[in-house]
């Protein structure tokens, strides 16, 4: 595959791996999620430019908007977790209780 193709695929996979194999903090998982979003934005933009299809010119910006919402939701959850469990250590999030 082309180097460009390889770059954002690798970035996405690395972000996914970072999300899956997270260690201590919820914040690092959220950051990985942000990274995945970024690579997806890049991929969408490059795809539109590559195939010169006018229809999908607006999709990256849409994705960005939704990713911002999702990031804020994630951060709200982080704050709620910090409030109930005292920290954002992921190992405390195993019981389905508040």
């Amino acid at each position: 595959m082309t180097p460009m193709h390889f770059t954002f695929s690798a970035a996405f996979l690395l972000g996914l791996a970072g999300l899956a194999f997270h260690r201590t903090h919820l914040l690092s998982a959220l950051l990985c999620l942000e990274g995945m979003m970024l690579s997806l934005f890049l991929a969408l933009s490059l795809w539109t430019l590559e195939f010169s299809s006018i229809n999908f010119f607006t999709s990256p910006l849409l994705l960005l908007a939704f990713s911002a919402c999702e990031a804020s939701a994630g951060l709200a959850l982080l704050v709620a977790t910090a409030r109930t469990h005292g920290s954002d250590h992921l190992k405390n999030l195993s019981l389905l209780q508040c």
């Binding site: 996914l16 791996a17 999300l19 899956a20 194999f21 997270h22 992921l90 999030l93 195993s94």
Partner: protein, 612 residues
Amino acid sequence: MHPTSLMMTTSLMTIFLLLAYPVLTTLSPAPRAADWALTQVKAAVKLAFFVSLLPLFLFMNEGVEAIITSWNWMNTLTFDVNLSLKFDHYSIIFVPIALYVTWSILEFAAWYMHADPFMNRFFKYLLVFLIAMVVLVTANNMFQLFIGWEGVGIMSFLLIGWWYGRADANTAALQAVVYNRVGDIGLILAMAWMATNLNSWEMQQMFVTAKNFDLTLPLLGLIVAATGKSAQFGLHPWLPSAMEGPTPVSALLHSSTMVVAGIFLLIRMSPLIENNPAALTLCLCLGALTTLFTATCALTQNDIKKIVAFSTSSQLGLMMVTIGLNQPQLAFLHICTHAFFKAMLFLCSGSIIHSLNDEQDIRKMGGMHHLTPVTSSCLTIGSLALTGTPFLAGFFSKDPIIEALNTSHLNAWALTLTLLATSFTAVYSLRVVFFVSMGHPRFNTFSPINENNPMVVNPIKRLAVGSIIAGLLITSNVIPLKTPVMSMPPLLKLAALTVTILGLMVALELASLTNKQLKTTPTLAPHHFSNMLGFFPPIIHRFTPKLNLVLGQTIANQLIDQTWLEKAGPKALVSSNIPLITTTSNAQQGMIKTYLALFLLTLTFAALLVSY
């Protein structure tokens, strides 16, 4: 009907009625008179003896034998069981002898047991035993013989355990029953074989139809039965233990009548045995082993009754040897003469024991010749008859046996053992006489020792007369069925006598050493072997049950509890599942990381799979 057979049959039925009448009167609830035992029972036996002399004289004069079949008991389509009595020359001679000996023993027992509150019951038991014994010897079919066989076994149990408050007596009675039962297996095997193969239990039919069969199996069964009942080696410990019973019981059952039942069975079945060399050899070797082993055990015993018991066992071994020589008539002759002197030996022992306040240890007797001259003289006569002194009763039966053994072309080892046992007989007989009658008294003079009571002395005197002349009487009036070998080298002819005299001389020499100490330490090993009866009872009665119990415990504990239940069964289910459960629970804690990691891995593998 011919007068002879009429008289024969009548007198024989009368004997049964006379013996059964006192027992039947005990069924009524009215209490017995105080001297019922003496008047009714002893009188019945005495009268039965005189009545039984009639068939005996008829037999001796005319050779009359009778078989009475009186009642169809159980008859199926193929198998008949009848009540059938056989009075051939064996039972015609044995019944008067048994009644004579029983008469003397009952008279003695009236003195011996006079302080016993249940003397009437004792005499009833003795009478029931006598009836069972007569049923046994007059049986013409195996079923009746079995009834008599079991009857004498049961009465032996009841009489040995007469003083049931004593634990040793109960143990001894139980031992007698169990050992007899083991022998009964052989008898029942033989009976079953005969019922299925020969189609009858009547002896006449058995002897005729058995010619075409291989009889090894039923004969083995019969020999096992004789081993149990007549205390041959292997099933012998019950006989010395049976001395726990009162002396009249020992005199009647365990010397003259019950223990010879096994030998009598083999004598009855002699037409079957004589053609089977395996059975004959087995009898020969078993008898030789028994006679030597028990004679060895008798050498170091200290209880006078045990010495006489082992002497009985030794003579029974000798009878078995005679059967192994294919000489049933000689064995029967020995049974008859043995009854007299052995019963007398027991009665003398009983008289001495009672005089010395129930002291049975010969080391604590002595000098009885001055105190009870009649008893000790009869003891000496009995011992001399036992060792086969020429022209006393034992000589006429024992000497022909040894001669037949010497002139037969059979097992020389059996011959050696028997001769050795004959010399041992002289040794222990001398030991008894030396310790009891000779020397100085070794007991305290607490009880008045006298022989004033005729009830003691008369039976002993009667049996002494029998011990002296019975051999001569029987041999001169009975025609032998097999011709004995008359000519043999002089050493062979005198073998029994020589061996006995040698034994006597050795014993006298040993007896003179009893108050000297020539060796610093005694050789204990042979003494212990002999005194502990060859360690046979401790091994068989303790070791084998212990092995069984340990086996049972191992099975219950290790096989069932530890293996089937813990390692292989329910507990194994638990112990193999719990690690699996723990591992799985540990993995499924609800952590997102686990699930995400698995998702990623699956994704990677799927991608690799698709692309390759």
